[in-house]
């Protein structure tokens, strides 16, 4: 029964798209048949190396540096009440700035190269990770913290086994938000000033009125988003396995 549910509606929708657009002559809505036929021509071989790979690498570089910086800074800010009170208004303001408007600002001093794109991605991804880490670290269970202290767990061990562990569900919530912001910023930074990358190529197709090619680009972005979110879920399930298990068991035994 379950697998049927999973595939039924998507299959129906794709079929509907296929037949509804089959004899479409509207310029902007090419038949799905044409789009799918164009797909392998556009997205195999050379373009995979020259456009998809650089985009993904930039995204990874920006995301990972934001994650590291966010968790590190967040742990410091979250651990000291005074530091937190001192930084909070500034952080709230910086977070409220819509990340895409940073693209023109960062272009000023980082030029239009890869550095600019990585900085843009990192600066957008930083805030959800940072603020969630602050919240997570702040909310570490006081009984747990006291127990660890009385057993003499201090320093790096305390940080690793008590603080970060306890904050990890929150940190992952931040990382998940950061992922979708990262993809958005990757595409936008490439739409602005680039000579390769997914965003750049798709805009080129649109400006050249290569409509089926443009549609395949949209599909690629969709697939990339989906793939990354599935990967994220797998990692999260592994890392937070203990937490989900704990929650399930506490739910079952009220």
């Amino acid at each position: 029964m379950r697998p049927l549910f999973v595939v039924a509606l998507p299959a129906l929708l794709v079929a509907a798209w296929w037949f509804a657009s089959d004899d479409s002559t509207a310029v902007y809505w090419p038949p799905l048949r044409t789009i799918l036929r164009t797909f392998p021509d556009v997205w195999t071989g050379e373009r995979l190396r020259t456009d998809v790979l650089p985009s993904v690498l930039r995204l990874l570089a920006g995301y990972v540096s934001a994650a590291v910086a966010g968790v590190a800074l967040g742990t410091v800010i979250g651990s000291y009440r005074r530091v937190r009170a001192f930084c909070e208004p500034v952080l709230e303001f910086l977070r409220a700035v819509p990340p895409p408007v940073l693209v023109p600002v960062i272009m000023l001093f980082a030029g239009i190269g890869d550095t600019m794109k990585i900085v843009v991605i990192a600066s957008g991804c930083l805030w959800p990770v940072l603020l969630n880490t602050v919240e997570g670290v702040r909310a570490v269970d006081s009984v747990m913290a006291e127990t660890a202290r009385s057993y003499g767990v201090t320093g790096a061990a305390r940080l690793r086994h008590v603080v970060l562990r306890a904050a990890s569900p929150q940190i992952f919530a931040g990382l998940r938000q950061a992922l979708s912001i990262g993809i958005i910023l990757m595409v936008i930074s490439e739409m602005f000033a680039a000579s390769n990358g997914l965003g750049f190529t798709i805009v080129q197709f649109q400006r050249g009125f290569a409509i089926p090619d443009m549609w395949t680009g949209i599909l690629v972005l969709g697939l990339l988003g989906l793939l990354l979110s599935v990967l994220f879920q797998l990692v999260e399930r592994r890392v937070l396995g203990w937490y989900h298990g704990l929650r399930d068991s506490s739910r079952r035994a009220p």
Binding site: V6, P89, P100, L108, F109, I188, I202, I218, L221
Partner: protein, 257 residues
């Protein structure tokens, strides 16, 4: 305690602004890239006297508000229908999981082709992006309904509509409100992005103009405006949430402390 925190926060803000003033003046960062705070404030003042700035602000807010309303109404209606009608939730789960991670900016080329720089292209992106925030929250919220309350309502003979109104909706409301808060922030991001990239009139388009004409202090001033706008929207959404949930445990608890 609360007063001390506020004082520390104000001090933090002051240090941040002072750093922004002193660092470029001392040559620690290039003044051409990081104008001192006072020059940004100056540019901000000039923007405020410019009618075109207020028109742009109005355009951005229009796109944001229309898109947000459409996304919230759509998300709530679709979410309730999916949860109330048997099997529909299971049948749509995979499709929702598939569509949700598609980055909204992928639709930019399509929006440009279809609507050019009209308001409608902004709305397409805003609605697509914020719809999912609301929908997913509604689905989670409905799943949280207490089975005992549901069964009780059923055994008292409440119809489907009355059960939705008196059992389902109050349970889901806190989740819905969180969804609205998230959607409000996302809608602003997408509205400004659409203006910036597509060139639809609004603050984003003004930022693009400031950038291409090398008006650096104005660029920063406009970025500050979008940040303040984001801040106001967050605060407003929180206020609305508190009002709508005044009866709810989480809010009542907050007030008591």
């Amino acid at each position: 305690m609360r007063g001390a925190n506020a004082a520390l926060g104000t001090a933090g803000l002051a240090v941040f602004l002072a750093l922004g003033e002193v660092a470029p003046r001392l040559g620690l960062v290039k003044e051409a890239y990081f104008p001192p705070t006072s020059r940004i404030a100056d540019a901000l003042g000039q923007e405020a006297t410019d009618g075109a700035f207020w028109t742009a602000l109005g355009d951005t807010l229009t796109g944001w508000a229309l898109g947000l309303v459409a996304a919230v109404v759509g998300g709530v209606v679709v979410g309730l229908v999916l949860s109330v009608v048997p099997y529909l939730r299971d049948a749509t789960a995979s499709t929702i999981e598939f569509l949700r991670p598609i980055p909204s900016v992928a639709l930019i080329p399509l929006a440009v082709l279809l609507y050019g720089t009209e308001l409608r292209s902004v709305l397409l992106l805003v609605v697509y992006a914020s719809f999912w925030q609301v929908l997913v929250q509604v689905l989670y919220g409905v799943r949280d309904v207490d089975p005992v309350a549901e069964e009780t309502a059923r055994s008292y003979g409440l119809g489907a509509w009355a059960r939705t109104r008196h059992v389902l909706w109050p349970t889901a409301l806190p989740y819905v409100m969180t969804g609205v808060r998230l959607a409000a922030a996302v809608a602003l991001i997408l509205a400004v992005t659409a203006e910036l990239v597509i060139g639809a009139p609004g603050l984003g388009a003004r930022i693009a103009v400031a950038q291409s004409s090398q008006a650096v202090p104005d660029l920063y001033a406009l970025v500050v405006v979008t940040g303040l706008l984001g801040l106001l929207i967050n605060l407003g959404a929180r206020a609305v949430e508190r009002r709508a949930l005044a009866w709810h445990q989480s809010v009542r608890g907050e007030v008591a402390v």
